[in-house]
Every structure is written in C-alpha cells, then in structure tokens.
Amino acid sequence: MMTTQILYALTGCVIVALGLRGALLHASLLQRIVAINVMGAGVFMLLIAVAYRGPGLPPDPLPHALVLTGIVVAVSATALALALARRLHAEQDDD
Amino acid sequence: MINILSSILILAGVFFYLAGSIGLLRLPDLYSRLHALTKADNLGLGLLIAGLALHSQDLFTVLKLLLIWLAVLAASATSAHLIARQARRQETDS
C-alpha cells in the first residue's frame, strides 16, 4: 500500500465521477461522448494504479493489457457513437 | 559532470517552454501568439532533447531523440502555417 498508488487511485475515482456527471447532464451529444471517454480514462487510471508495484519492481502486466484493450475498444465505440450522432443530425434536419 | 551539463540544458529548455506559455497568455493577437509558441517551444524541446541525449546509452537512442525533435519541428511549423493561413483567410473574407 503506497502513497503513489493511493494518490492515483483516488484521482481515478474523481475522474470517473466527473465523467459520469458530464455524461448525464450535458446538452450536446458530442460533449456527452467526450464525458464518457473521460469516465473511461478514470477507469484506466484506477487499473494502472492498482498495477503499480513501486519504483524498482516491474509492474503487474495484466491490468496493462486490460487497459490497452480498453483504449482500443473505447475509440471504436466513440467512432460508432459519432456515426450515430451524425445520422441522428441528418434525420433531424430532414423533418 | 554529465549530470550538471544535462541539468543546465534541461533547465534552459524548461525556461523556453515557460517563455512560450507566457507569450501564449499575454500576447495580443493570434499571429504573435503562434510565433511565440512555435519558436520558443521548439527551441525548448531541442534543448530538452540535447540534455536527454547526454544521458542515453548508445547512438541509436540519440538518433531516435533527434528524429523526434525533427518530426515535432516539421509538424508544429506546418500546423502554425495552416492556422495562420486560415486566420488570414477569415480576416480578408469578413
């Protein structure tokens, strides 16, 4: 249990809360997508803080692999969400 | 000895970054801000990389660091040009 781990883990929790609040409260669809990405970044920070073992020791590679997967999945989900938003705008403009 | 030299270079680089950021905040219009940001930041990066290159183990790392500096130089110069050109166009249109 190290100070560094606790610092980063707590910051991760704060960022998850910021992202959730933004995702629920924002008006613009694009800003909600940004907020969900911020929430994802908070979760990644939690995972990597848990994986950190100290300045000399090699970190735990399993959460790193999970976060790597998470980053790629997050960007593909963002791309799909943006395509949906674009189609939504096009449908709205038509009526 | 290497530590002292490298620290001086890195501190000088940080000073130039600071100058660039102050220029971003304090200068009056877009063009002067772009000017300050691009020039000061790239010089700062060059000094930083020189300081880091003194610490590297082999020539390959030094070459990689130089490649990073050249790439950032080219990319930031191009983007500054594009931003300034677009701002100029918007000025002459309106």
């Binding site: 809360a17 911020v38 970044a41 990644f44 994986a51 395509a83 938003a85 | 790439a71």
Partner: protein, 332 residues
C-alpha cells in the same frame, strides 16, 4: 528527498489532469471541450509513463488522444450546431440543459457517491495483503510464451482469447459505421507546405509502424500501437485531400478488415486440429505465430481506425471504380 520530489511531481501532474478533465466538461463550447480533452489525453500519457506503463502510454498518446481527438474534431467541424432540446421560458429554476437545479445537484451527489464507494473499495483492497499469484504466474511462464515483453505475452498468448474478441469488437463497430451511411466528403487538396510535410511524414509513419510491430516482442510496442501509426498515416493523407489514402478497394478492403479476426481464428483452429488447446501455441512456434497474428491484427486495426475516421463506407477509387464510372457515363 527523491521520493519527496516525486510526490510533488505526482501532485502537480494529477492536479493538471483533474483540472483539464473539469475544464473540458465545464465549458459549453463543444470545440473547446474536445481540444481540452485531447490535452487531457496527452497529459494522461505522461501519467502512464510515470506509472511504468510505456505500452499503455504509447497507445494512449496515439489512439486515446490522437485518433479520438481527430474523430471528435472532425465531428465538431461537421456539426457546429449542438443537438440541444428546446429552451423553455422559465429559466430561473433551470440550468443550461433545461434540467432543474434539483436534478443537477442530485446527479452531482450521485456521481460523488459513486466516487466515494469506489475509493472505499480501493482503500479496503489496498489495506489487505496483496496476493502475487497472477504476476508470478506470468513471469514464470514468460520464457515459454515466445516473447519477452510481458504485456505482449499477456495480450497475445496468455489472454489471446480476449484479444481475439477485442478485434471482433473493432470489426463490429466498423460494420455498424458502414451501415449508417457513406463516408464524409473529403477535404480540399493541401497547399505546398502541408503537402511537403505529408510527402515525407507518411513514409516515416509506415516505417515506424513496422518498427513498433517488430519491437513489440521485446520492448514496449506491439500490434495496437503499430496499427495506430498506420492509421495516422492514412488520416494525414486524408486531411491533405488525397484521393488514395492507403485503403484497398472493394473485396480487398473487406479481406483486410477481417484479416485480424480471421488469422487469429485460423491459427487457433489449426492448433485445435493438431490436438492442442484452442490458441495454445507450442513453445517452439509461439514467437513466429505471435508475429503472424500481430501483423494481420496491425493491418486490420489500421484499416478499422482509418474507416472510423472516414465515417462510413468509402467512395471507391481505383481502376475498377473508374471503369464503372466510364460505363455509366457512356450509358447515360
């Protein structure tokens, strides 16, 4: 003294990360929000480097800040008007979204409660003795995994099934994007300065992608970072108004898109036929098989990310499309 400096550095870094996240979500201007989010992603990459996670730092800088930022900026550029609900008359009791102050405070408290619960669970987990089972198993079996970078070993050998499913998720996302419409119209051709940059930047990016793919076996790197570098090359070509951005046409495109999942499945099933478990590489062949799968995955990831940036099914270029256009013009 050294740990003290490091703690000060950590404090400043975390403060700037939280400040950037806050500023990105507090502003009402969407463009500013996206740009602050890109800065947030880059500072986050520094944090990953600080926490000894260089593979994740590479991926975050390239994909999380770079490609996500490019996607979001392109979307902002297309839709300057936000998709907002109708504003009502009574604006005293309502915030900018039309939601009442009560609802806004309720959501803020809910988020704070979530953060508090997470923090409590984490502190509880940290105070108990850490069990080292999984990291020891990983480092113990690293020699037989075919690579020496533990993250690559976990991604492509020990948890290969998860990576296979992740590539399938990528494919599904791009199929969804395809079904939603055509690609966005391209950009105007670049001026001499940008064109000159593109001229040498794209080959350097392609070389860098190859290097990252190769070095991922024994140093930070791998298929995802390499795929992101290739996708960046395609994005730069697209932004410079080129018509050919590196994507093949028609059925060749579909083959490249499916190559990641396809090669992975082929390797797994052939190992099944040879009597080994699914995706259980024999230690002598593990390195070569991992490189094969990573190459296919890199091409697939690059194509997927570039198609995501295009925003839909690309208009065809190339010989077949030109011939088809000629036939249509003759028949008209």
């Amino acid at each position: 003294m050294k740990t003290m400096t490091l703690h000060v550095f950590d404090g400043l870094l975390l403060l700037s990360i939280v400040a950037l996240a806050w500023a990105s979500l507090a502003t009402t201007d969407v463009r500013r929000s996206v740009i602050l989010f890109m800065a947030f992603g880059l500072v986050l990459a520094v944090a990953w480097g600080r926490l000894l996670a260089p593979d994740v730092a590479l991926a975050e800088a390239a994909i999380g800040a770079g490609l996500s930022g490019a996607l979001l900026l392109a979307a902002v550029h297309r839709q300057p008007r936000p998709l907002s609900p109708v504003s009502s008359n009574d604006s005293r009791h309502q915030g900018p979204n039309g939601l009442s102050i009560v609802v806004r405070w309720a959501v803020t408290l809910l988020s704070a409660a979530l953060a508090g619960t997470l923090a409590w669970a984490l502190l509880h987990a940290f105070s108990s003795t850490p069990h080292n089972m999984l990291p020891q198993a990983i480092s113990g079996n690293l020699a037989a995994s075919g690579v020496s970078n533990p993250v690559t070993a976990v991604l492509l050998n020990f948890r290969a099934y998860d990576t296979l499913l992740e590539l399938a998720v990528l494919l599904t996302a791009v199929l969804g994007i395809f079904s939603l419409g055509q690609a966005t119209p391209g950009y105007q051709p670049a001026g001499p300065v940008f064109d000159g940059l593109v001229h040498w930047l794209v080959p350097v990016l392609i070389l860098m992608a190859g290097y990252l793919l190769w070095v991922g076996a024994h140093a930070p790197g791998g298929a995802f970072q390499a795929g992101a570098a290739l996708a960046a090359a395609g994005v730069v070509l697209r932004l410079a108004g080129r018509s050919r951005i590196g994507l093949p046409d028609g059925s060749a495109l579909r083959i490249v898109m499916a190559a990641g999942v396809g090669v992975f499945l082929l390797v797994g099933l052939s190992l099944l036929l040879l009597g080994r478990p699914f995706l259980g590489y024999p230690p002598a062949w593990a390195g070569a098989l991992i490189l094969l799968i990573e190459t296919a995955a890199m091409l697939s990831i690059a194509a997927t990310l570039l198609l995501a940036f295009l925003g839909g099914q690309p208009e065809s270029t190339g010989v077949k499309a030109a011939a088809k256009q000629q036939r249509e013009e003759i028949s008209l």
